[in-house]
Amino acid sequence: MNDQILKVANELGVWIVAAPVVIMAAIQAIIYTKLARSTTKKLGIPDETCKTAFKTGLITAIGPVIAIFIIMVGMMSVIGGPISWMRLAIIGSAPTELTAAKTGADALGIQFGGPDYDLKAVATSWWTMAVNGAGWLVFVGLFCHKLEKLRTKVGGGDVKWLAVLSGAAMLGVFGYLNSGYVIKGGGNLIAVIVGAIAMVALVNITKKYPKIKEYSLGIAMLIGMFAAVLFA
């Protein structure tokens, strides 16, 4: 993208109009945290447990967020700071957003980021990212509560089966997500395998040292990551 276009994409006005979405994500998280806290009291869950759960989320997220941080800084030089900030605060990972931005340029028949990539093309890219993200937001916004009924039906009120069901769903989802990296091979495959083995080891180790339990996924991730760098 040429400097003049990037200047517009980074101007103060764009920061201001990008902020509401980021703030919305924060507001939602705060409301749900409060709601969860008041519900845990009614359920008789100790305060300590709630704090641990929240802290675990906070800590486990650090590693992946560093990755998002690094990717985002790269993305800012391509599509501008404020729009990267807004898009990466909500649904749509960096590759999805860049695909949408590129698709917008394709619809105009212009090369993404090329010399013809003018302000109209930027507008088309931004529109395409917004309309794509809205697909998830609108579907979940409108139909999510219906999915609870579906779960009740599939679960049939059997708590033991519901636990197996969510375990099976997790393995299915992560089986699918890992399969792409397994097929790719090389460093990706090493990261997957070493990450998995490290986690199994840590699950066992943390039985003896429960204090480091909340760091275990982050540690396993780092071990997988460095193994990939060393052995790929």
Partner: protein, 228 residues
């Protein structure tokens, strides 16, 4: 607390909040496009806008529906609203929800799990928002502190490493299902040119189906006298 009461204090307010936050965010996400039009007069023509929409929906449209349905039994109601607003589901929300349950020894599928995993996810949302906001305002400065090799390692390998780690965490609990969970998609990738959204359905619901069969078998052998 019985189901009726839980419905009143949890599901109802969660649904209300989820609906308005997601739909409002969907509308607000068009503000930058509106800004470009109002301030700079730049906007795609109506036909280009439709064309771009059609093109991107062809690529991702199936995921709008398949992902929420496939992830629902893990994330629960509030978890789904949170995850599909804040995104980064596989690398942040699911791992954090799972770890929150693991660390607090909460049984999945229960009322307690629904609420505790919510706290794990909101914790991750806060870290995420801090991260992207730092990147936005001081990112170009901070990135220089990272040795390039380290930055590359994070960029290239954090995602497969954390995906592998989460898989390991659950494989340890359900080793048989783990073989099915990874086996189905890997096999299908090698043998067919199946599109990604079909792979998700096959992997998730295939594994759930096998889990049900194994679960029924076990229950039968445990309760030989009475039918489960």
């Amino acid at each position: 607390m019985d189901n009726k009461e839980f419905n009143q204090v949890w599901f109802k307010p969660v649904t209300k909040v989820g609906m308005w936050t997601l739909l409002t965010a969907a509308i607000l996400s068009f503000l930058p496009s509106i800004y470009l039009y109002l301030v700079h007069g730049a906007a795609p023509s109506f036909s280009t806008a439709l064309k771009a929409w059609g093109m991107i929906a062809t690529l991702y449209g199936a995921f709008y529906v398949v992902e929420p349905i496939s992830y629902y039994s893990i994330l629960g109601l509030s978890g789904t609203y949170l995850s599909f607003l804040s995104g980064n589901i596989s690398n942040l929300r699911l791992p954090c929800a799972g770890m929150a349950l693991e660390v607090t020894d909460t049984k999945p599928g229960t009322k307690e799990a629904e609420v505790i995993s919510t706290l794990g996810i909101t914790g991750s949302v806060i870290t995420n928002l801090i991260g992207v906001t730092l990147a936005a305002f001081v990112g170009t400065m901070l990135i220089k502190l990272f040795p390039p090799a380290l930055a590359d390692a994070f960029r290239n390998y954090t995602v497969p490493a954390i995906l592998g780690a989460v898989f390991g965490q659950f494989a340890f609990k359900y080793p048989k299902l783990a073989v099915i969970g990874i086996g189905i998609p890997v096999l299908l990738r090698y043998t067919t040119g199946m599109s990604a959204w079909m792979l998700i359905i096959a992997a998730v619901f295939g594994t759930i189906g096998i889990a049900r069969i194994l679960y029924n078998k076990e229950n039968k052998s445990n309760n030989t006298t009475s039918e489960a």
